[in-house]
């Protein structure tokens, strides 16, 4: 566990930078993580983030396929919004754990 400060807020993350507690997240925190990841957030980006957080709260595991079928974005758009590893990148910005698509 490491501690990081985003927009004046102290948050705990794992060693890869994924927040360990979604309750410590707010939009400003998300915005700053996005900057670190080189992503400029737009309305569409936030819609995806909202969707990911909602699934996470329901404890539904996420996959790229699931996001593509969510009605929020297509897989192609998802890649366009969060280039190179969209699910990992968007999960980090959303303050949810690293996706475990691997079993």
């Amino acid at each position: 566990m490491i501690e990081k400060t985003y927009s004046g807020l102290c948050v705990t993350c794992d060693d890869q930078g994924y927040l360990s507690n979604l309750d410590q997240w707010n939009r400003n925190v998300g915005e700053e993580i996005a900057k670190e990841e080189g992503v400029e957030m737009t309305q569409k980006h936030w819609e995806v983030i909202d969707y990911l957080q909602e699934q996470c709260r329901k404890e539904i595991p996420l996959t790229i396929r699931k996001v593509g079928k969510s009605g929020v974005v297509s897989i192609k758009e998802f890649y366009h919004l969060f280039p190179k590893g969209p699910l990992k990148k968007s999960s980090k910005i959303a303050g949810i754990p690293k996706p475990v698509s691997c079993i």
């Binding site: 996959t63 396929r65 079928k69 897989i75 192609k76 998802f78 280039p83 691997c102 079993i103």
Partner: protein, 415 residues
């Protein structure tokens, strides 16, 4: 009389029929198992078929052969599960009521999920080896192939037997060396994962082998489409990989019965409690093997361990007792590394594959996460164990359903 219905007579369903016929009184419970197929395949053998290590006859037997006396086998396609009415409707309109339902319909490849994967090139320059047909056609292709770019590829996770694609790459290396054309073959392993395997510890050991065997890895590749005409695969980030021969593991999906019945997830897997194997659909529906959505490997060993725990839970359910939360995600698999050697890995929900000995702590004879000839012999011996013990529901000595931590250098899962 009460009715217990099992959907699917593959590895899981057949094991459950054998276990439960011994446990449930004949005069109280009818057991019926339904499957449309004629043949029970030894699926781990599909890995060896393309390389002429196994003959087709060694991997197939009649389904009936393994259904115990006192269990009714119906060979028919299943239409839908009506969970409200506790009935299963078959395609011939027959309706079967149940008190307890076990879903063991497994998973299958769905090449039509990837744009351009099917087409004139299918079984000419693009192959799967997860079906009997695919493995046999690939064998015929390899016998005549003179070399070029071989791409071994995983479309998306989860897949049945997540190590099989790697084993395929390792065995291909051996095969082409033995044929004397390894210098004419370029082997590339393309995966949507960040590394060679789903678990970081095992990935370290496997990365070493991949380097040694001169197999190039392209990670984080999420395929969008196959361009069969120009022989390349393209991912969502527009990255392209060229091939002369593409051996792909298409998207894996559960049975379309789930979609028709409205009880599956987006890949037609059934939401299941990962410790009890009771479905989250209804309390009298249980799920086992590849048909579940639990975060364990889709593998025969997992199904075997699950079957012992599910048998106990079905008994407890009938007796009105609380279910045991015993399943720990235990998985155990041999990884063929070529040249008559294999690795063995053992892991569960919370523990990474580790070094040590198996099945007897400190003794072995098998070594975990280490490449040995003995492990390879273990893998070959497993075919006999499968046909003669495993699917007949006989306990395999020294191998427990939950993971044994003695004799292992343990490490908690980090991902």
């Amino acid at each position: 009389m009460r009715e217990l219905l099992i959907l699917g007579a593959g590895t899981s369903g057949t094991m459950m029929a054998n276990h439960l016929r011994k446990k449930l009184a004949n005069d109280q419970w009818n057991i019926t198992i339904i499957d449309k197929e004629e043949t029970h395949y030894y699926q781990p053998g599909f890995l060896f078929l393309p390389f002429d290590i196994y003959k087709p006859s060694q991997v197939k037997k009649k389904i009936e052969k393994f259904i115990p006396k006192g269990v009714n086998l119906i060979k028919e396609k299943i239409d839908v599960i009506d969970k409200e009415k506790n009935l299963v409707r078959l395609q011939n309109e027959q309706e079967l009521f149940y008190d307890i339902l076990i879903i063991a319909t497994g998973t299958d490849i769905a090449p039509d999920e990837i744009e351009g994967m099917l087409g004139d090139h299918w079984y000419k320059s693009v192959f799967d080896f997860y079906t009997f047909e695919g493995a046999k056609n690939l064998r015929d292709k390899l016998r005549l192939w003179e070399g070029g770019k071989l791409v071994v590829h995983i479309s998306e996770m989860p897949i049945k037997c997540p190590v099989a694609p790697l084993e395929f790459a390792f065995l291909a290396d051996s095969y082409f060396i033995n044929k004397g054309i390894r210098d004419k073959v370029e082997i590339t392993f393309v995966t949507p994962m960040s590394g060679a395997f789903t678990k970081p510890k095992a990935t370290e050991a496997l990365d070493y082998l991949l380097k040694q065997k001169n197999i190039k890895v392209i990670p984080d590749f999420n395929i969008e489409r196959v361009d069969g005409k120009n022989k390349k695969i393209i991912d969502y980030a527009e990255e392209e990989v060229n091939y002369d021969l593409l051996v792909t593991v298409p998207t894996n999906m559960g049975d379309s019965i789930m979609e028709r019945s409205g009880i599956g997830d987006e890949l037609n897997y059934v939401p299941t409690d990962k410790t009890t194997l009771q479905s989250k659909i209804k309390e009298n529906i249980f799920v086992i093997g590849d048909a579940t959505n639990i975060p364990a490997s889709k593998a025969g060993s997992v199904a075997h361990f699950e079957s012992e725990i599910l048998t106990e839970n079905i008994k407890r359910f009938i007796e009105g007792k609380e279910l045991n939360r015993d399943f720990d995600g235990h998985s155990n698999c041999f990884i063929e590394t070529g040249h008559g050697k294999a690795l063995l890995i053992d892991f569960n929900y919370t523990h990474e594959p580790v070094k040590g000995s198996f099945p007897l702590p400190g003794v072995g004879p098998l070594r975990l996460l280490k490449e040995t000839h003995m492990n390879h012999m273990g893998k070959l011996a497993f075919r006999w164990i499968y046909w003669n013990m495993l699917i007949k529901g006989k306990h395999i000595p020294f191998v427990s359903a939950t993971m044994n931590t003695a004799g292992k250098e343990l490490e908690e899962t980090t991902n």
